[in-house]
Every structure is written in structure tokens, then in C-alpha cells.
């Protein structure tokens, strides 16, 4: 029983179930799924579809956080990716052509991958703090996206492209399959190869890993490349949803949602051991939370307040001092003063 309770997925899943329960109690229709024209509809289906971009970004964020880093540029990369894809499609004489759409997607994800290479270079080769390195792209990336679209919100008319976010396969949203596919691919990559274990080693103790012969630089670089590529796919999903490339709105604040999802899933911001399954649960939890807020009639613009509260609670629970306050009230306060290494707070 104890092992069950201390499994690191227990609390995230419990939180998600609790949230679902609350929703069901206040609106029984939450759980209902109807079928029309061979497609499923319902609040749960909406959550599956709407969570897809966040799922992709959060996957990449998990890997980056595991290496003791952070990627603040994912939103901007999403914007760039959408801009590239839509510009390619718009420039083509036949936007509905499947080949054109594939080219557009390939170009967009390719550019996003390159941006990930750039981030990884700054962090793993130049040794710049991850926050600052990715902050630069966060700043400049949307500007680049705007340039690509010429300052406008490019719109297109393309059925194949529209299918990505709006289409259904086997009754379920295609976007959901994209997200699940990504989860499976990343999961296989991490756990079926040695990548997962080596990433954890690098995140927990980079120096001991180096002495053990682990290629730290490559692993860290790879994490940022993955984060970039996944953000690129998320950008495709987002732009397909609105059939437009909105450089300012695409992926706005998604990095924060992603960080929260990763943390909710049990991965520590300090790096090291990570849980992809936890991140998946975290993403669903956040999406359900957003759905709850919308249902409560709160204007979506106000939802950041609830996000703030959620992040605050999670962060406090993870804070050592907070936990210590409750655990060691009785213990003597006269601990030896240990010299903590100067922790530069930005890193």
C-alpha cells in the first residue's frame, strides 16, 4: 500500500480525478459524450483536442527541465512555425494541394528545429544561462514571425491544413492523435534508448556524469532541439485551428502553462528525474482547469489569476521551507550554519 501511495504519479492523477469529479458534480453533462456523423463530441473530447499544442510543448519542456534548464521561447517558436507554414501555403497557387501542405509543414518544423539548435548552442556550447538564452528568442522570435507574415495576420483556405486541428479520425480529433503520437515517440526515445537515464544523470549531477563519461553537451543540446521541434508542431496545430498565422497571439504564455504542467506531473524544476507520464497528466489537469474556469463563466482573459493561484500552491508545496515549517516545528532551531554555495538566482 505504501509503495502505491508514494508512486510519484499518484498525486497528479488524484488531483486530475478530483478536478473531474468537481466538474461532474457541478455539471453532469461534463462526462457525456455524444456521437454525430461518426464523430464524438463532448467536454472531454474538447479537452483531448485543445490540449494537443500544450501536450507537445510540455513534452519538450520536460526534457529541457530535466537537464536543469528552461525554454522560454516555445511560444515564439510556435508563432514562427505557424507563420512559415501559412506563408508557404499562401504563396502557392494551389493551397488545397496535399503536397503543398506537406512542404509547408516540413518547412515550418524545420525552421523550428533550427531555432532549437540555436537555443541549444547558446546553452550547451556558450554556457549561457538557459533563462537568458531562451529569453532572447522569446523577445525576437515574435518579431521574426511578424516579418515573415509581413505584419499581417495571414489567413488561408486549405482543407488539408484545416484537417490537422479540425479533422477527426476514428471519431476522435486528429490533433489528439498527433499529441499521442508525439508522446509515444518521445517516450520510446527516452525509455527504450539510454537517453532517459543519461538525461537524468546529467540533470542530477552534471559533474559526476562527466566523470563517468557521459556526453553532457550533446544531451543538453538535444533537449533544446526536441523542445524546438515539438513547439514547431504545436505551432502548426495552433495555426490550423484558427486557419491564420497570428504572430502575437500564437502560443502566448504557453511556456508558463507548460512549466506548470511539468511541475504538476512531478518533475522537479531543479532537474534530474523526470516523468513523461506525469507531464501528460499535468497537461490534462491544466486543460480541465481551463475548461472549468470557462464553464464558471470567467472570461478567459481573467484565467491567469487562477493559473497564478495554481502555480503558487504547487510551488509552495514544493518549497522546502514550507514543508519544513510543518514538519520540524519541534526540532531544535540551532542547526549548524552550513555554507551554501552561492546560488545565482537566475539559474
Amino acid at each position: 500500500m505504501k509503495k502505491f501511495l508514494t508512486h510519484r504519479l499518484v498525486w497528479p492523477i488524484a488531483a486530475l480525478l478530483a478536478l473531474i469529479a468537481i466538474n461532474t458534480i457541478s455539471r453532469p453533462s461534463f462526462l457525456s459524450i455524444t456521437m454525430q456523423n461518426g464523430q464524438f463530441y463532448g467536454s472531454l473530447i474538447d479537452i483531448l483536442r485543445n490540449s494537443a499544442p500544450l501536450m507537445l510543448v510540455a513534452l519538450g519542456m520536460t526534457l529541457v527541465i530535466a537537464t536543469r534548464g528552461i525554454d522560454l521561447s516555445v511560444g515564439a517558436i510556435m508563432a514562427v512555425s505557424g507563420a512559415v507554414a501559412l506563408t508557404v501555403i499562401e504563396a502557392s497557387p494551389d493551397p488545397g494541394n496535399l503536397g503543398v501542405v506537406f512542404t509547408a509543414i516540413a518547412a515550418a518544423v524545420g525552421v523550428a528545429l533550427l531555432l532549437g539548435v540555436w537555443n541549444g548552442f547558446l546553452v550547451s556550447v556558450l554556457g549561457i544561462q538557459p533563462i537568458i538564452a531562451t529569453l532572447v528568442l522569446m523577445l525576437a522570435g515574435r518579431g521574426v514571425a511578424l516579418l515573415i507574415t509581413g505584419g499581417f495576420i495571414t489567413t488561408i483556405n486549405s482543407d488539408p491544413y484545416k484537417f490537422i486541428a479540425g479533422g477527426y479520425v476514428l471519431g476522435l480529433p486528429f490533433a489528439f492523435f498527433v499529441a499521442i503520437f508525439a508522446v509515444i515517440v518521445v517516450g520510446v526515445l527516452e525509455r527504450r534508448t539510454a537517453l532517459g537515464m543519461l538525461t537524468e544523470a546529467v540533470g542530477i549531477n552534471p559533474e559526476a556524469s562527466r566523470l563517468a563519461g557521459v556526453r553532457s553537451r550533446g544531451i543538453i543540446w538535444g533537449a533544446y532541439i526536441a523542445s524546438g521541434a515539438l513547439a514547431g508542431i504545436a505551432g502548426i496545430l495552433y495555426s490550423s485551428n484558427i486557419m491564420a498565422a497570428d504572430a502575437n497571439a500564437a502560443g502566448l504564455y504557453i511556456e508558463l502553462d507548460a512549466i506548470l504542467a511539468v511541475v504538476l506531473g512531478g518533475t522537479s524544476l531543479a532537474g534530474g528525474k523526470f516523468s513523461l507520464a506525469g507531464t501528460v497528466v499535468g497537461v490534462f489537469t491544466i486543460q480541465t482547469l481551463k475548461s472549468t474556469i470557462t464553464f464558471l463563466g470567467v472570461p478567459p482573459a481573467v484565467s491567469p489569476v487562477f493559473m497564478a493561484a495554481a502555480v503558487l500552491i504547487v510551488v509552495l508545496l514544493q518549497s522546502r521551507r514550507f514543508r519544513a515549517y510543518f514538519h520540524t516545528a519541534g526540532r531544535s532551531a540551532l542547526r549548524p550554519i552550513t555554507r551554501r554555495p552561492d546560488a545565482k538566482v537566475l539559474s
Binding site: L135, L139, L312
Partner: protein
């Protein structure tokens, strides 16, 4: 004694005084670099654009970016301690729209303005407490502040609120002119903020403690400096500045708008770093941040002068920021290796 005097005897007096100068004023070097960039840009613009009048342009830069200048002062305090504050844009928007609403509801200006400053201080205090007492990383703590403020801004109003209050609008509409240069009360507020901050940082123990925390927090504590108070206070100061910036921006645009300041925190950080403040903390000056704001404003002006798209501004600023960060990193690792 042997090593020290030997060193001096073996070098010429001008080399000695150069080294002496450098050893006294090394932190001013990045600021100096920013000033050079500014001067070069001005010179280039004046040469390239025929109707680029220095006094008009510089005055209008101050006018358009007074809010950013106030934000940069607050951000300088935070970055000097090695922290970061991502909430300033959102807090500015929140206090701005709240101010507009209060004025619209008939609250006197003399009450509304201090209220905004206090609210900014309160949010800053929240962030500071999270950082100092709960060991939350500054960027997460300030993200919480940002989320909170942005959401609260929308709670106040989903759309913009126009301001009719004469008292507030006076801050923007009045101009004091002299020889083609002009300045508004908002500009004066911004410059006074810079002056006050510069004084505090140089001549008070609190100010020196801010630098000390950024240099070596452990040592500062061992020296008996009020480290905890300093680390809390810098976030409060940043919040106060954000509140003040909200007032300035609302006066400038004549309305409160909940979507103001999206991305402004990044502009602020860029201006501070370009102005010569090291992101690792412990080195930098508010005067430098002021130069950084002018560089930012000048970039924006030049880009609009040349008819290029506004999005080039963010890209150029981002590139400049990256350049400064990389150079800072190279210098730091060079000096660490030489030890």
C-alpha cells in the same frame, strides 16, 4: 610590498594611471559602450535622415518611453541583486486600468495615484516574499505576479477605459520647452526617479547592500549587511516603479488598457542589460539603464523613420541583447580562467 611596488616600478606612469583608472571604474565600461552605441546611432541617423532634428527627436523619445524608463529603474535594482522580475508589464497594465477606472468613478487624483503605487508595492512584496522566504526562483515568483496582475487587469475591465481626469492628463499634455527641447511632467517624473535611485544606490547602506548581494550574498550576510531586507525591498521597488509606470502610461495614452505592457518586461530587461548592468548581478548603474532606454527608443524611432516594419524593433533589440550577453559571458569566463 615587494610584488606591489615592483609592479609599479616596471611600468610607465601613463600605463599606471590608465590601470588605476580602470581599476576604479571598471563597472562603468559597459555603460560607456552603451553611450558610444547611442552616439554612433544618433550620428548615423542625423547623417542619413535629412529631417532628423536632435532636440525634437530626443525629447520625443523621452516622451514616448517615459514609462519604460521608470520600469527600467525598478528592474535595475532587481537585476543588481541577481534576480529578475517578469511581472512589471502586467503590473503596469493592472495599475493603469485600475487608475482609469477609479478616476472614472470619481476618485480624486490625489488618492488614485498613491493607491496605484501601493498596489504595485504589494505585488512586489508578494514576489519578494516568495523569493526570499520560500526559496522560489525569481522568474517563477515573478511569473506568478505577472499572471496575477494580468488577470486582475481583466477583472477590472475587459476593454480600455478612457480617462477624462484633468489632473492626470495634465501630466502629459503640459510641455516645458527650451530651445527646441521639451519635456512633460511625466518625463520629469521619470528623470526624478532615475536621480533618486542613483542617489540611493550610491549613498545609502541599502544601496550598497543591493550591490553586495549581487556580488556575493554569503559574504554580505557575514559582513552583517541587511541582506534579507534588501532582497525583499528590490522587488517592492520594482513593483512601485511598475505602479508609477502605469500612471505615466495611462496619462500618455489617455486611457487604461488591460492588454498594455505585453512583452514590456522583456523590453525592460533588454534596456537594462544594454545599459551595462550585468545579469549576474553586482554591477551596473541606473544612469546606464537610462542610456539603454534611449537606445531602445532610438531604435524604435529610426525604424519608423526608415519606414520598415515595427517588428524589426524587437528583433534588433533582441540581437543587441544577445550580443551584450555573449560578450558579458566571454569576459566573465576569461577573468575566471585567469585566476
Amino acid at each position: 610590498m615587494a610584488t606591489l611596488t615592483e609592479e609599479r616600478r616596471s611600468t610607465s606612469s601613463s600605463a599606471v594611471s590608465y590601470r588605476r583608472f580602470l581599476s576604479r571604474h571598471i563597472s562603468w565600461v559597459p555603460v560607456f559602450a552603451a553611450v558610444i552605441i547611442l552616439v554612433v546611432m544618433i550620428a548615423g541617423a542625423m547623417w542619413y535622415f535629412p529631417n532628423f532634428q536632435l532636440n525634437r527627436i530626443m525629447s520625443s523619445i523621452l516622451l514616448d518611453n517615459a514609462y519604460l524608463l521608470v520600469l527600467a529603474v525598478g528592474m535595475t535594482f532587481v537585476i543588481l541583486t541577481g534576480g529578475i522580475d517578469l511581472s512589471v508589464g502586467a503590473v503596469m497594465a493592472f495599475t493603469g486600468i485600475l487608475c482609469a477606472k477609479m478616476l472614472g468613478d470619481g476618485v480624486p487624483v490625489a488618492v488614485a495615484i498613491p493607491a496605484m503605487v501601493l498596489i504595485g508595492a504589494a505585488i512586489g512584496l508578494l514576489i519578494g516574499i516568495l523569493v526570499q522566504f520560500f526559496d522560489v526562483q525569481p522568474f517563477i515568483a515573478s511569473l506568478i505576479g505577472m499572471f496575477l496582475a494580468r488577470g486582475l487587469a481583466f477583472v477590472v475591465s475587459l476593454e480600455s477605459i478612457k480617462v477624462d481626469n484633468e489632473g492626470l492628463l495634465w501630466l502629459q499634455s503640459t510641455r516645458f520647452s527650451f530651445a527646441g527641447w521639451y519635456i512633460t511632467p511625466t518625463g520629469i517624473i521619470a528623470l526624478l526617479t532615475v536621480a533618486l535611485a542613483a542617489f540611493v544606490l550610491r549613498y545609502t547602506r541599502f544601496g550598497r547592500t543591493v550591490y553586495a548581494v549581487g556580488g556575493n550574498e554569503q559574504s554580505a550576510r557575514l559582513m552583517g549587511l541587511p541582506v534579507v531586507r534588501a532582497k525583499l525591498s528590490v522587488y517592492v521597488i520594482s513593483g512601485v516603479c511598475a505602479g508609477l509606470a502605469g500612471i505615466v502610461l495611462t496619462a500618455y495614452s489617455g486611457a487604461g488598457y488591460p492588454l498594455n505592457g505585453v512583452g514590456t518586461e522583456l523590453d525592460t530587461i533588454a534596456a537594462v542589460v544594454i545599459g551595462g548592468t550585468l545579469l549576474t548581478g553586482g554591477s551596473g548603474f541606473v544612469i546606464g539603464s537610462m542610456v539603454g532606454v534611449f537606445v531602445y527608443g532610438l531604435i524604435r524611432t529610426i525604424i519608423s523613420f526608415s519606414g520598415a516594419e515595427q517588428s524589426w524593433t524587437r528583433i534588433t533589440v533582441g540581437a543587441l541583447l544577445l550580443l551584450f550577453v555573449v560578450v558579458q559571458r566571454v569576459i566573465v569566463s576569461r577573468s575566471a580562467l585567469s585566476r
